[in-house]
């Protein structure tokens, strides 16, 4: 099987492109850059198609039924299993090993196809969009590096290789957001993206190592097999902890609360970057990771609940901010955060296939929306504020119609792509687990209404109403070149037809998307609830073939709300002229200001975490703790050290005095003085006269004799 055996070429093509740009990019001409970089991604796409095609054939063979295809090139980290060098949680030794391996199964096939496909279209688009920008080769080099990292992420067969890709896309995100590094706002945004991502990465690493410690391996196949067959208790605390830690990583990468703050600022990068990284690919990495770890999440209902709640809250929170933003890319950024919330809501209620389906359709229409907005910005000579746009639909027809199709898709209008995927999520939220998540359904439905409203607001403000731009800009409005409009058309086709892969049973379809993903999710998912009433289906398993009439009711309800959002936007913004009024601003100015300022979350973070804003003289949070520690260290600790030094010197002075006066004076010189004093008279005895000494001797002798004779 050629494409399967050479599957490792798929990430290699863009890697080579990036390497060539790194070494020779400066010296080669733009057409050569195009040929190398765009060609690399085209090759990657073709090889991906070939690999997925051959995989379907390979997995149809009875000996490989429903197995993932693994191609292990070599053992990258660690030893082979004869060397056991860390200890698992139960005390048995295990081998630390991460292979340079590739995994292809239905889940990664889907990601592979849309990452390379949409990536290819965006590369082609960028040749037109970036044609007049400086640093052309640098841009394409980074873009290819990004493709390499993303492909590594989705094709890795173990958590470590996935983490390599995970970090790589974070790096490329930093490089590309800060592409116009001369602008401080761009480099700040790049820093913010990387740092917030890093916080998530800490969670990812901790989760990954917890899993290795618990299961003894990093490979997906090993962990999934053990999780499914290992008699683990539902709600196992270590698996729950690992799942929650991995989800923290997903929050950082896929911009969920509270780590979403980098994504709106990431719009500082060029528009193709926003389309590729922040709409279609990098931000879906978190969803991919959670979907890949579904065997673990299914064993940890607390973690699933957390995922669902965070997803739903993120969805409605971001949608509310998007209602009032004036920069066209900001609206789309918050829309992305909101749609990602939907995906995590789907994963959290157990509808893994629905979440993945929404990722798939979202890639098409969100990329289209971003590329279309790029086309608009290109036509408007760099203007991004919608207050200064208007009435573009006659001058940029292709952009207008493709974006209109994308808006219909994202609002969830039948029969466009978003309808099927979003509806599936909402239905699963309503119906799973005996209705435990119905309040999340409510949040999702309100968000759908908001989504429709703000997307059509964007359409009407940009393309309809009265022209509100300055005259020079108005003169330059033109449709974009073919290199930009052809990808738009292709993506529009995707936005229309991609949804038809997942038509649910209730509407007469066979939901081939979900069937394709069955081996990954449904077949071996264990029941999530401890007690299971007969007839109760486990989350994630396909429903029996009969359909619930409530499903139709909910479908009509969400369609109605989407149409209502459209209608409301049409009424308010259809004739928007210079100085048009925002209805929310008119009715509730406080709420409007809060939404416009993104609920002051960034400012809050500045107070609590980064310490860039102070409360009076003091800083809060961790930085404040640092300030307090610094004060403590310099005053009290150093003061103590200095005090010890001073004490030592004082003792030294005391010792000196003692030594000089008491020891030397009293004890050493004293006897000497006494001796001298007594010696003065004593020496007088020595006259030097020998006869005198002799007389004394005789006197002594006489005394002795007298004494003894008269005793």
């Amino acid at each position: 099987m050629f494409f399967l055996d050479y599957i490792w070429l798929i990430p290699l093509f863009p890697a080579m492109g990036a390497a060539i740009m790194f070494f020779f990019g400066r010296k080669i001409e733009k057409p050569a850059v195009n040929a190398v970089c765009v060609g690399a991604v085209v090759l990657a796409f073709l090889f991906s198609c070939g690999a997925v095609w051959q995989y379907t054939g390979w997995s149809a063979m009875p000996e490989h039924a429903h197995q993932p295809f693994q191609k292990i090139l070599y053992t990258w980290l660690g030893s082979d299993s004869s060397h056991l060098n860390f200890v698992k949680h139960d005390g048995t030794p295990a081998a630390f090993q991460a292979d340079a391996g590739f995994l292809l199964d239905p889940l990664s096939s889907i990601w592979l196809l849309f990452v390379t496909g949409v990536g290819m279209l965006i590369h082609i688009y960028s040749t037109g969009y970036m044609a007049h920008e400086g640093g052309y080769y640098r841009f394409f080099g980074y873009l290819n590096l990004f493709m390499f990292s993303m492909l590594t992420l989705i094709m890795g067969n173990n958590y470590v290789v996935m983490f390599v890709g995970w970090e790589g896309v974070g790096l490329c995100s930093y490089l590309l957001i800060g592409f116009y590094f001369h602008r401080k706002s761009a480099s700040d945004a790049a820093n913010k993206a990387f740092i917030v991502n890093r916080i998530g990465d800490a969670g990812f690493l901790l989760g990954m190592f917890t899993l290795a410690w618990y299961f003894g391996s990093f490979r997906f196949t090993d962990i999934n097999h053990l999780a499914r067959t290992g008699n683990f208790q539902i709600g196992d605390p270590i698996i729950t902890a690992a799942a929650l830690l991995l989800f923290v990583g997903a929050c950082g990468k896929s911009a969920q609360l509270p780590l979403y703050v980098w994504l709106p600022d990431a719009m500082e990068g060029p528009t193709p970057v926003s389309a590729l990284i922040h709409a279609a690919t990098m931000v879906t990495a978190g969803v991919y990771m959670v979907a890949r770890s579904n065997a673990l999440f299914v064993l940890a209902p607390t973690a699933m609940k957390t995922v669902a709640i965070v997803g739903a809250l993120t969805a409605i929170f971001a949608a509310s901010i998007g209602l009032v933003q004036n920069d066209i890319k900001r609206v789309l950024a918050y829309s992305t955060v909101s749609q990602l919330g939907y995906m995590f809501l789907a994963l959290g209620v157990g509808a893994f296939a629905a979440g993945v389906f929404h990722v798939f359709t979202h890639a098409f229409f969100k990329a289209l929306l971003f590329l279309g907005s790029g086309s608009v910005i290109h036509a408007m000579s760099g203007e991004q504020d919608m207050r200064n746009m208007g009435d573009l639909h006659r001058r940029t027809p292709v952009t207008h119609w493709t974006m209109f199709i994308a808006t219909l898709a994202i609002a969830g209008i039948f029969p466009f792509a978003g309808f099927f995927s979003k509806d599936e999520i909402l239905w699963q939220a309503w119906s799973s687990e005996r209705g435990a998540y119905q309040w999340l359904w409510l949040i999702g439905v309100i968000t759908a209404f908001m989504t429709s409203f703000y997307m059509f607001r964007l359409m009407y403000l940009t393309f309809h109403g009265r022209p509100r731009m300055s005259h020079e800009v108005e003169h330059h409005i033109h449709e974009s070149p073919k290199s930009m409009t052809v990808p738009l058309i292709i993506l529009a086709a995707g936005s229309i037809f991609a949804g038809w892969l997942g038509v649910p049973h209730s509407l007469g379809g066979s939901n081939r998307f979900e069937k394709f993903l069955e081996p990954v999710f449904a077949k071996e998912a264990k029941p999530v609830l401890a007690e299971q009433t007969p007839g109760q289906l486990a989350a994630g398993q396909k429903e029996a073939e009969h359909t619930n009439p409530t499903e139709y009711l909910l479908m009509l309800l969400s369609l109605g709300l989407a149409a209502a959002g459209w209608g409301l936007a049409w009424k308010v913004y259809r004739h928007a002229d210079k100085g048009y009024a925002e209805p929310i601003a008119a009715k509730t100015p406080l709420v409007y200001t809060a939404m416009l300022n993104k609920y002051y979350v960034d400012e809050g973070y500045d107070y609590i975490f980064t310490g860039r804003r102070k409360l009076g003289p003091a800083r809060l949070g961790v930085m404040g703790l640092g300030d307090a520690s610094a004060w403590f260290d310099s005053r009290i600790v150093d003061g103590t050290v200095n005090g010890a030094g001073w004490t030592t010197r004082a003792v030294g002075t005391l010792s000196t005095w003692w030594d000089r006066w008491i020891i030397d004076g009293l004890l050493v010189n004293g006897p000497a003085i006494v001796a001298r004093v007594f010696s003065y008279p004593a020496r007088l005895v020595q006259w030097g006269l020998v006869q005198w000494y002799a007389l004394l001797m005789v006197a002594g002798l006489v005394g002795f004799v007298a004494y003894y004779s008269y005793r």
Partner: protein, 101 residues
């Protein structure tokens, strides 16, 4: 006539001893002092011999020792005198006062 008893020898020895002592203590010339020392030693010899008549021959043996010792001592003393004379050009005992304070 009264017989010569050992008492007479003892008295003679004592007289010589006294003369010798006075000589050592009062004479100015170092040579005369040395002669007086010899006189003392000889008085002691006389004493010893007198007692040997009474109590055995050990007295005479001891006086031979004393004579030998006196000779050696005279030699050494004269040697010191000559060395001192070379330094100080005098034989006056009063001028041997190098150890004076």
């Amino acid at each position: 006539m009264t017989p010569i008893t050992p008492i007479h020898y003892l008295i003679l020895a004592a007289a010589l001893f006294a003369l010798g002592t006075i000589g050592v203590l009062t004479r100015r010339n170092v040579v005369i002092v040395l002669m007086s020392i010899e006189l003392i030693l000889n008085a002691v010899n006389l004493n010893l011999v007198a007692f040997s008549r009474m109590w055995g021959l050990e007295g005479q043996v001891f006086s031979i020792f004393v004579i030998t010792d006196a000779a050696a001592e005279a030699a050494v003393g004269l040697g010191i005198l000559i060395a001192f004379f070379r330094n100080k050009e005098t034989v006056n005992v009063d001028e041997v006062d190098l150890l004076k304070w």
